[in-house]
Symmetry: C2
Amino acid sequence: MQVVEKIAGMRHLRRQLAEPVGFVPTMGYLHDGHLSLVRAARAESRSVVVSIFVNPTQFGPQEDLASYPRDTERDLTLLTKEAVDAVFMPSAAEMYPGRFGVYVDGGKTAGRLEGACRPGHFRGVATVVAKLFNIVRPTRAYFGQKDAQQVAVIKKMVADLNMDLEVVALPTVREPDGLAMSSRNVYLNPAERRAALTLYRSLCLAQRLWREGETDAGLLRRKMVALIEKEPLASIDYVSIAGAETLDELDEVKPPVLVSLAVRIGGTRLIDNIVL
Amino acid sequence: MQVVEKIAGMRHLRRQLAEPVGFVPTMGYLHDGHLSLVRAARAESRSVVVSIFVNPTQFGPQEDLASYPRDTERDLTLLTKEAVDAVFMPSAAEMYPGRFGVYVDGGKTAGRLEGACRPGHFRGVATVVAKLFNIVRPTRAYFGQKDAQQVAVIKKMVADLNMDLEVVALPTVREPDGLAMSSRNVYLNPAERRAALTLYRSLCLAQRLWREGETDAGLLRRKMVALIEKEPLASIDYVSIAGAETLDELDEVKPPVLVSLAVRIGGTRLIDNIVL
């Protein structure tokens, strides 16, 4: 496994990689969710590239850029075991030199939900992913459905800017009790860890009600909110029932529907979703 | 010469083109300025692709999108003579399907000069050029220095988004009397055609004063403005003396400096520039 820190080095290495090239962009601190993406890339590609880059432009000024968990040594050990060919691990200065100024604006899809709560977040995501795609030139790129809106924004960017690659979204990987895997789960103390289950429980409630025939999206939202509000450590950013591609809020549940939410558990902001 | 109207068709053709691929994006109604770019591409590449696309997203609502001159038959005859391999000529609906929404924001460089007079212009330019680059995947792309700020914005986009190609800027091609060639010159009546010379004359004045030792940028601007104001058919949008890369306005002339201007001659808006 080759580890490359410079853009020029990655470009050079890329020319030697056999096609097709599978690519998994990450912010590191890898968990089983990331590894499920790496395994899918490995199964479907002759070469696999993983990037590890905590992207500053997708964090707001009040967010957790400085404290975002990092463990590069462990990450590289895990990726070696998965028979990854190359890890691209640039510095912030390598990706954003002085006078950097051109951004990809994710448009309407990027303004909703996470984009409304975290202004500029998806501009940062779209920009860094466009940069990584241009450097790595993958055949296929793999993302977790846990970041459902990120998947929607990146698919829209690839389509609208005519990027010549396929975006693959894979199911959210969960802990045995249902909590969606996230690098940020490490922030939770034991009481918060228990309280965090309220996200998945509220999604399961919406799914059960819908399976029982409920199609009133407003009612589903209210039931989810009522369940989460029973948890004293939880504070809701949003609970959304929206069209899965447009992310327009719905009155009536008509599949494919994205049920998604962002909830603060103590000081930690968690997101989760299911698709009906 | 193959003429392709669909993105899928262009991608297919691209796979068969020998490297390196030279690319000249145009809005058609070709003149000797465009042809100088095509000849450079021809001389330096094994394959040459030209695009003809009057890009709606770079025109403001009050601008000349509908009346922009078009003569596809003549364009294709000219390009055949230049031994171009492929012409990509998509429709607006092919490039901007319904629900299009992701744009490339050219940043600070795009907000000055032309960008200040034509809000959204360079967002449209950067977006369509990014799309064309992703579809055509050129080794080198050729642009005229006559659109100096466009060159600066595209070079910045290529650098900031790590696009893997070279941007080549070639000198402005002029009529024998000095008027910069432009598809929009066709709008000028004989009196306006004579009046239009004031642009180049004011640039020559700045160059002469600078060669004689004048380094006060404010004084150069005032002398240029005074010369243009003598022409009754001319109305100034801007006269700028700026850093050639940053486009920051300067107090003191320190090369490389972009001297640029936009002037309306009757109903026609013309631009021109020189680099000191």
